[in-house]
Amino acid sequence: MAIRNLELGIWNRRFHIPNPAFLIALALSASCAPAGAANSTLTAIDGIRVGHDTLAERPTGCTVVLFDGAALAAGVSQRGSAPGTRDADQLQPTSAVDRVNAIVLSGGSAFGLDTANGVMRWVDEHATDSRRPPSGGPGVPRGVDVPIVASAVLIDLWVGGKPSIRPDADCGYRAAGAATTAPVQEGSVGAGAGATVGKILGRERAMKGGLGSAAITLPNGLRVAAIVAVNPLGDVIDPSNGTVVAGARNDNGSLADVRKLLRSGAALQRTSADDNTTIAVVATNARLTKADASRVATMADDGIARTIAPAHTTADGDTVFAVATGGWSGTTDVTTVGALAADVLADAIVRAVRSATSVAGIPAVRDLKR
């Protein structure tokens, strides 16, 4: 729990500066704490590695989550109206395959689904006994190992350069090769490199989104963690106090608060699907059935509802994957895991915009506050 408190104290809310206690703790953790002790990101869960690949040519990229081990029940909640996904149907509880080797989050709109090809190649080349892809399935001869790689994309084609530059199979391959158990790098990287938020008053009023990750560990050893690339039409809200963290800006640069705009009937500039989508992976070390993993995905999606306003619009392809590694042998219930998944995804979304840096002239929260 100390890790948790530490994380909550990163920012001094009143003065909008890093909390001095956090900086001291950070220095201590970097110098003498065992590796992983201060990890409050998705890789705090055993058996999970994360890698980013960010393109140099344009702010876009992909993020790969690799799963080691066998007990990997997975589910998905797909509630945005403009999704780009791959192998999401396979995660339905009524579908046969009940494991997943990797999940790819990518920029580049539907073109970015190409990244999963590179991840499949990487998993195929690196298959080991401890990371053996599930075998076959109906119609596939026994002995053929098919890497199971689910994927979702966000659209960032308009940000900072030529739209024809987008993540491809090599991006996915490199991100898989770069995956480590180190704390996840957050901000304007990987699938969050070109992510933006608050586009309801137009692109020129948007702020920088990004990639965030968070983890919650209970005293009994249960862990629930999330990683998310935050690129919604809507604003990002801190659910602990209802305030806007990042979103559509007024002429003077202040935050407009889309909730107030909507209730006033103000004319909105952009509600098309050209610019948006939030995509996430939540994971737990609990042992869950495939149906329970779907329930966790459904409940985790409440984290998007609480931190993004509006969420799940026709202009967003919001998608949340849930994975249970089964590495923890304790007992819990799916309501607890799902509720924590919603909380930790909300945390990760707020972290994504707080850790983002300005890109291509689109300001980030941390830059506005300087």
Binding site: P219, R259, T271, M299, D302, R306, T332, A339
Partner: protein, 353 residues
């Protein structure tokens, strides 16, 4: 008055007083409702049983409306929700029933169907008109009396007959009569909840309203402040905050099926069946924002949408869906703030005294 309805309950009284002071409230609107009945074509009736705190609430459409549903809780009790799938044919709804009584309460819809049939209202099927009445129930069998007392067809008939376009009574009535919240640490620490309603009217004429019977395992949160409005109680009458209990390692004490939040959102906009489904899906975000945790395996959370098409203006579905989520969250907070104590279960308004 109707602009007052778009505000948070806390701000409501002050804002309405202020409006009265400058004479705005003097305008006599034919539609005084600040709830879902502000939507043209929507009537609401409650029936509350005398024998035990339970009952039903019927939303009656004047004619018909396009409908949709979002069913995300893990322990639902529903009727005619498959019909609302956009892939399926029937695209008209005549009434929606919300009832207590767990799955037994689905019988209430039978009475509403009878009431509609007597008025020759329904989907034309050969020689017959078949009333289309989706329904969802919540579990209140453990509250205040003999659990064998539950809403029957008679309840659904009487609630439909009582439906009006007037202001909707809120609190411990109708489907909310036996509703409670904050059962994460067991029923003994729960707080009384009920049914609430809210609406938002834009200057363009678009109206979105909601009515919700709130019986969640989770706490009720005011999304404007992040604070608990009603939920798990401490011995001193303060709220423990289920979110904190959860993060501290507490696990849910409530059993599956003993909870559930059910509601209806309605708009006067004209929507296709697919867009009505999208409206329901987005409205469901109001549950996520105002209930923590929500959509659990111990809740049968379900929300229906209705588009009456009485307003000829154009509105983006993203706007309608976003306002639907806001109205649902408002209605949930009102359900908790308007409830009165029942059967020894204190309501938030009594705890504050």
């Amino acid at each position: 008055m109707r602009y007052c309805s778009a505000m948070k309950p806390v701000a409501l009284a002050a804002a309405c007083v202020a409006a009265a002071a400058i004479g705005l409230a003097a305008q006599s609107s034919a539609r005084a409702s600040s709830g879902i009945t502000a939507v043209d074509g929507i009537k609401v009736g409650h029936y509350t049983l005398a024998e035990r705190p339970t009952g039903c609430t019927v939303v009656v459409v004047d004619g018909d409306a396009v409908g949709g549903v979002s069913q995300r809780g893990g322990a639902p009790g529903t009727r005619e929700t498959d019909l609302l799938n956009p892939l399926n044919m029937v695209d008209k709804v005549n009434a929606i029933v919300l009832a207590g009584g767990s799955a037994f309460g689905l019988e209430a819809a039978t009475g509403t169907v009878r009431w509609l049939e007597e008025r020759n209202i329904g989907w034309q099927a050969g020689p017959s008109r078949v009333p289309i009445v989706p329904a969802a129930i919540l579990f209140d069998l453990g509250v205040g009396g003999n659990p064998k007392i539950r809403p029957t067809a008679d309840c659904g008939y009487k609630a439909a007959d009582a439906a009006t376009t007037g202001a909707v009574p809120e609190g411990s009535v109708g489907a909310g009569a036996g509703a409670t919240v904050g059962k994460f640490a067991g029923a003994g620490r729960s707080t009384k909840s009920g049914i609430g309603t809210a609406s938002i009217a834009l200057p363009s004429g678009l109206v979105v309203g909601a009515v919700v019977a709130v019986n969640a395992v989770g706490d009720i949160i005011d999304p404007a402040t992040g604070k608990v409005v009603a939920g798990v109680r401490n011995p001193d009458g303060t709220f423990a905050d289920a979110r904190k209990l959860l993060r501290a390692g507490g696990s849910a004490q409530s059993r599956a099926g003993e909870n559930t939040t059910i509601g209806v959102v309605a708009t006067n906009a004209r929507l296709s069946k697919a867009l009505a489904a999208r409206m329901a899906l987005m409205a469901d975000d109001g549950y996520a924002r105002a209930i923590a945790p929500s959509h659990t395996n111990a809740d049968g959370d379900t929300i229906f949408s209705l588009a009456t098409g009485r307003w000829s203006g154009n509105a983006d579905i993203t706007v309608i869906g976003a306002l639907a989520a806001e109205a649902v969250a408002d209605a949930i907070v009102r359900a908790a703030t308007q409830a009165t104590s029942v059967a020894g279960i204190p309501a938030a308004r009594d705890l504050r005294k």
